[in-house]
Symmetry: C2
Subunit: 132 residues, 2 copies
Amino acid sequence: MRITNQREIILEELRKLKTHPTADELYDVVKKRLPRISIATIYRNLERLSEEGMIHKLEYGGRQKRFDGDMRPHCHVFCVKCGRVSDVETKNDVNIMDMVLDSKGFKIFEGGVQFEGLCPLCQKGDDCETLQ
Amino acid sequence: MRITNQREIILEELRKLKTHPTADELYDVVKKRLPRISIATIYRNLERLSEEGMIHKLEYGGRQKRFDGDMRPHCHVFCVKCGRVSDVETKNDVNIMDMVLDSKGFKIFEGGVQFEGLCPLCQKGDDCETLQ
DNA sequence: ATTGGTGCAAATGCTTTGCATAAAG
DNA sequence: CTTTATGCAAAGCATTTGCACCAAT
């Protein structure tokens, strides 16, 4: 994988964020440093970086994918109303993979716990900007 | 919620399937009984039924949502290559909700374990019809 | 009679792609 | 010099919506 200026900055900015941004949210951030970057470059790099195991692609809780630069194992909650994602701190004494009794022929190589709920903003009832 | 012919048949056919179909897969099945039904009706009813807690909307990997008529608590695996979803039989001695130490202000009301892997067809290396 | 649901087609919105140009190794 | 990545615009595709008509209560 060739190291381009765009790729470096995308990774760098994603790692700075703890918000699990969508592609376009990250685009807005990266544009400040690379005003001529294309949204297609953002998408292509996020895809590539997740294939290479350098970032996580989060595909739950709404229609926009979200991305996470933190590769330490951890769990997420997502807000069923606005789609925001947050890390969740959990007890670490359960090995999820050991829970499987019958995988129906699937070769399982990852397992994780995910939570659903309401984010602090949506709990207040006010409409939360980021809808879905 | 008004009981229409369409709504009844959509629910009935979804409950028969163990494949966690996408909206258009279910559309193909329902069309055999209601040839004039619209895909919009499928989407509207699946959304409505999941709001009412009568079915589950699955938003894992892949771009298409999948739906499940089986409301008994259980876990899923999804194939990272073709997007197929299958039930997984698991040990039942862990209460996922008790694992939370810090929910970062989110009000959590659901938690579940989900697995990633390769389905039997994709393991064989052949290309699996249902791509994503 | 009233309200909610349906079918159709058009619109939306996130994501991907084709292609000519530019940059990396 | 060769290969891979970029920017731009256009295309793709799942899903949603506006609207006139229809059906359930």
